[in-house]
Amino acid sequence: MTESSEQLDALCRNVVRLLDAARGPVHTLRVVAGDAAVELIWPQPEPPVPGAGQAASRPPEVESASAAADGAEICAPTVGTFYRSPEPGSPPFVTEGDLVEAGQQVAILEAMKLMNPIEADRPGRITKIIVADGDPVEYGQPLFLISPDS
C-alpha cells in the first residue's frame, strides 16, 4: 500500500469510528491530522416531541464510492485489464473532453479473454481518464470521471 493511500485509509477508518462512537445525529465533524485536532458538534436538542420516532435523526451517510466532487466515476465492473481501444493500434473509444451518450462504449475490460465492454452509465463529458491503457485494474476501481455537460 502506498503511504498516502494508507493515510487516507486511516483517516476514513477513523471518521467511521468517530461516527460510530458518536451514535445519534451529529451536526459537525472536523478532523485534521497534521498536529491533530478533532471537533464534533451535536445539534441542539430539539424540544422533545412526545411519541416522535427517531428515524429521521439517522447518522449522516458516508458518500458512496461512485460520486466524486467534480462529477461521477465510471468504475471497473470486475477485475481485468483496461483497454482504451477496440484493438491495438486503433483509435481509442474516447479521449478526455469528449461528450458521450448514456450507454456509449468507452473502454474494454479484458478478463480471461472475456472482453467486457465498459459503457457510460449517463450522458456527459469525459473529464478525466484515470487508468492508463493496458493497466490491470481491480473491481470498483475508478476508470473515468464524467461530468454533466453544462
Partner: protein
C-alpha cells in the same frame, strides 16, 4: 512444489490456508469481494486482489475473475477452501487448463462424487453399505413413488447435485411423496441448476459419522479417524467431536476401513471426508463424500497432531504422504463449536451488523479459528460463521467442561448482532449430549420445546 497459492475463499478458512502456506514458505494471494475490503484476514496475505462486488456470484463464485487474479499475480496453485467453488469440477478443470494446480481432487473425481447418485453406485461397487434407494436419478414422480414403495417409508428425496445438507426432503407417508418430489425438484433446479433427484431410505434417530481421509497421487490412502457430527440444526452441523462418543471402537475402525476402500476405488486425491449414518442398531451406511477440507477438520487435527491443510498443500505439490497408519496416534477428545452470527430466539436468523466487541477465548488446549475482530461487519452476503472454537481434553467430560469454559469467556457484541454461543452451551449441558445418547434429532427436539 509450487511457490505461490491463490486462496479463492474468505473468512476463517482463507486465514487457515494462509497460515499453512506461510509455514511452508509459500507466497499467498487472497482474492476478495468489495464486502470484504476491510477483513482482517487480508492482512495475512502477501498480495490481495479485489475481484468483484459483494454477491458471491460475481466474486467468490465467478471463475473468470479468480483466474484473472491468478494470472496477474503469477500464482501457481489455487486453494478453494470449502463451499463456493471448492467442489466444482468445471472450475478445477479451468484451473488445470490454465496451468494452475488445483488443491483438491482431479476434476473427474469431483464430477463423479458431485453426482450423489453416481457416488452411491461407486461406493456400493466398492463394497460399502448404502441405504436402499434408487440406483439412478429418478425420471419422474411416479418412478419416485414406485421406488419409495420398494425402499419403504420414511424416505428422503435428495438432489443429485446437492450435498452438505441442502436440497432434500424427508417423506414419511406415501400421500406426501408427489408434492415433496415436485417441490424438491424445483428447489434443486434453482439451487444447483440441476433438478435431478434420487431417493434413499431415511434413518430416524441416527448418528452422523464421517471419516477424514488423506490420499496422495502415489496411491497412498490414510484414514485419520472418524468425527461425530450428530449435533445439527436442519442438517447444518453445530458441534462436532472425535472420537465418536458411546459407539464401539471396533465399529469405528470398520467405518474407517470402509472409507479407505471407497477412496481407493474412486481414485481419490487430497483431503476428503466420507459421510455415513449409523442407525440405532449400529449398522452403518455410506451417504456421500465431501471432496474438500471440512469446516470441522480441526477436531481431527487436535487429536492426531496432523496439520490437514499442510498435508493438502503437500499432496497437491505431488509429495508422497510422509505419514503411515502407524504414525497416526490419536490422543484425547476434541470438540468443535460453530459460533454463528444468528439469533436462536428468532429461528436462528442471521444477524448482520458491525461487531464492536470481539474477545475470543484463550488458554490451554483451546483453539479459535476466526476472521473476527472488533469492527468487522457481518453481512448477509455470506454464511454466518463467525468463529470455530475447538478444545481438546484428556477425556470427554473434561473436553465438555473446557468448551463450556471457553464459550463463557467469548465476548461478542455489536448493535443487532446475536450469536449462538448461549445455545451451544445449552446443548453441551443437555443430558442426552452429556451421556452421548443424542442423535441427529437432538437440536430440533430442543428447539421445538
Amino acid at each position: 512444489m509450487f511457490s505461490s497459492v491463490l486462496i479463492a475463499n474468505r473468512g476463517e478458512i482463507a486465514l487457515r490456508v494462509a497460515r499453512a502456506c506461510r509455514e511452508l514458505g509459500i507466497r499467498t494471494v487472497m482474492v476478495h469481494s468489495a464486502a470484504d475490503d476491510h477483513s482482517p484476514a487480508l492482512r495475512l496475505a502477501d498480495e490481495r486482489v479485489r475481484i468483484g462486488p459483494a454477491p458471491a456470484s460475481r466474486s467468490y463464485l465467478y471463475p473468470p475473475a479468480i483466474l484473472e487474479a491468478a494470472e496477474r499475480t503469477g500464482a501457481e496453485a489455487v486453494h478453494p477452501g470449502y463451499g463456493f467453488l471448492s467442489e466444482d469440477p468445471e472450475f478445477a478443470e479451468m484451473c488445470e487448463d490454465q496451468g494452475l494446480t488445483f488443491v483438491g481432487p482431479p476434476a473427474a473425481v469431483l464430477g463423479r462424487l458431485g453426482d450423489k447418485a453416481e457416488a452411491r453406485r461407486v461406493a456400493s461397487a466398492a463394497g460399502l453399505p448404502v441405504l436402499p434407494g434408487s440406483a439412478h436419478p429418478l425420471r419422474n414422480g411416479s418412478e419416485a413413488e414406485r421406488v419409495a414403495g420398494e425402499v419403504g417409508y420414511p424416505v428422503i428425496i435428495k438432489a443429485v447435485a446437492g450435498g452438505g445438507g441442502r436440497g432434500m426432503a424427508v417423506v414419511r407417508h406415501p400421500r406426501e411423496l408427489a408434492q415433496a418430489y415436485s417441490t424438491t425438484r424445483v428447489a434443486a433446479q434453482t439451487a444447483f441448476g440441476d433438478g435431478r433427484l434420487y431417493i434413499e431410505r431415511y434413518v430416524e434417530g441416527a448418528r452422523h459419522i464421517e471419516v477424514q481421509i488423506l490420499a496422495d497421487r502415489h496411491g497412498n490412502v490414510l484414514s485419520l479417524g472418524e468425527r461425530d457430527c450428530s449435533v445439527q440444526r436442519r442438517r447444518q452441523k453445530l458441534i462436532e467431536e472425535t472420537p465418536a462418543p458411546g459407539l464401539p471402537p471396533a465399529l469405528m475402525a470398520e467405518i474407517c476401513d470402509a472409507a479407505v476402500s471407497g477412496a481407493r476405488a474412486i481414485g481419490y486425491v487430497g483431503a476428503g471426508t466420507f459421510e455415513f449414518v449409523v442407525d440405532a442398531d449400529g449398522a452403518f451406511f455410506f451417504i456421500e463424500v465431501n471432496s474438500r477440507i471440512q469446516v470441522e477438520h480441526p477436531v481431527t487435527e487436535m487429536v492426531t497432531g496432523v496439520d490437514l491443510v499442510r498435508e493438502q498443500l503437500l499432496i497437491a505439490g505431488d509429495r508422497e504422504l510422509a505419514l503411515r497408519d502407524e504414525d497416526v496416534v490419536r490422543r484425547g477428545v476434541a470438540i468443535e463449536c460453530r459460533v454463528n452470527a444468528e439469533d436462536p430466539e428468532r429461528g436462528f436468523l442471521p444477524t448482520p451488523g458491525v461487531v464492536e466487541e470481539f474477545t475470543p477465548p484463550g488458554g490451554p488446549f483451546t483453539r479459535v479459528d476466526t476472521h473476527g475482530a472488533p469492527g468487522i461487519r457481518v453481512t448477509a452476503d455470506y454464511d454466518s460463521l463467525l468463529a470455530k472454537v475447538i478444545v481438546s481434553g484428556q477425556d470427554r467430560d473434561h473436553a465438555i467442561a473446557r468448551m463450556d469454559r471457553a464459550l463463557a469467556e467469548f465476548r461478542v457484541a455489536g448493535r443487532g448482532v446475536r450469536t449462538t454461543i448461549g445455545f451451544l452451551q445449552e446443548v453441551l449441558a443437555h443430558p442426552l449430549f452429556q451421556d452421548a445418547k443424542h442423535t441427529t434429532s437432538l437440536v430440533d427436539s430442543m428447539i421445538s420445546l
